[in-house]
């Protein structure tokens, strides 16, 4: 299963593509950071982000997209841009007909490190180990996007197994 994870941001948007199955080590496919210029018009920035994400979805053909869920409790100065970038990311997946899941930062941290309180350095270090990389992915936005993709593979896997079991059960009951 190939998953495209997005750590949304208007100035820096992390994208990570990971291949894997639940309970097994995942493999890095690629990671990117999409930059937009804060001096540019909002329309231009959203358009650049939209086109870049559409291109990456078309290039890597993931089975699903995972996006970090944004909370209004976040940094108030940047939260509006983050919310707008997350909308563009969710749309990029939905328009391609892909299932899109959102995860809170705590869900991702717990899935990757075992603790919902992990800091950025711990996330980067675990992502580097889990994907058996020689170097940590930089910048941190890319590591966060890869963490989202890994979280989705592992959790989606659990859900898929449950769904398979449930549908088998339903099938048996017919």
């Amino acid at each position: 299963m190939r998953v495209l994870g997005v750590d949304p941001g208007l100035t820096r948007c992390g994208v990570g593509v990971v291949e894997g199955v639940p309970g097994r080590p995942c493999t890095l496919v690629a990671y990117y950071v999409i930059y937009t210029d804060p001096a540019d018009d909002l329309a231009l920035r959203l358009l650049h982000l939209d086109r870049s994400l559409n291109d990456l979805v078309a290039e890597h053909r993931p089975r699903s997209v995972a996006v970090e869920r944004v909370f209004s409790q976040h940094n108030v100065r940047t939260v509006m841009g983050t919310a707008q970038a997350s909308a563009v990311a969710v749309l990029a997946g939905a328009r391609a007909g892909l299932p899109v899941r959102t995860y809170t930062p705590s869900e991702v941290k717990a899935a990757i490190t075992g603790s919902g309180q992990a800091d950025k350095a711990q996330i980067t270090s675990m992502v580097t180990r889990l994907l058996r990389l020689d170097e940590p992915p930089r910048p941190a936005d890319a590591a966060d996007a890869l963490a989202l993709a890994i979280c989705h593979i592992w959790r989606g896997g659990t859900r898929s197994k449950l769904e398979a079991a449930a549908s088998k059960h339903r099938g048996g009951a017919r």
Copy 2:
């Protein structure tokens, strides 16, 4: 000049299409409210909004799009959805190759009523008079979207005249 105004919201998104030139009464073309179900998945809601806005842009072929600028000072419970809906609206214009302008609520209120402090009832009442409608547009989201479109025609007009004067001046100086 035909303008499509958007009062962004995830549950209710107002859209108003107005035709006019600066300093003259404007004419109503159409108004809509796009609803999405809060019980639905975020991806489905953004996709429905995206498709509806793209359809309205294609149907009415406006010369430009005006979207209300969202502030994080707004209602914290709804601000994330509003920011995401505004991103979809700005993108719908940008993807169609149209100029997109954002206006703060105070700018719109000042342009329509002469006061940046006007309330929703005053906006609705002025929009009804300015467009010479028999009935006030309902719900208020539609009136706000029409107010945005009128604001853009009047202010854009001022800018166009300045630009025309500037380019005439540049032409004369050659």
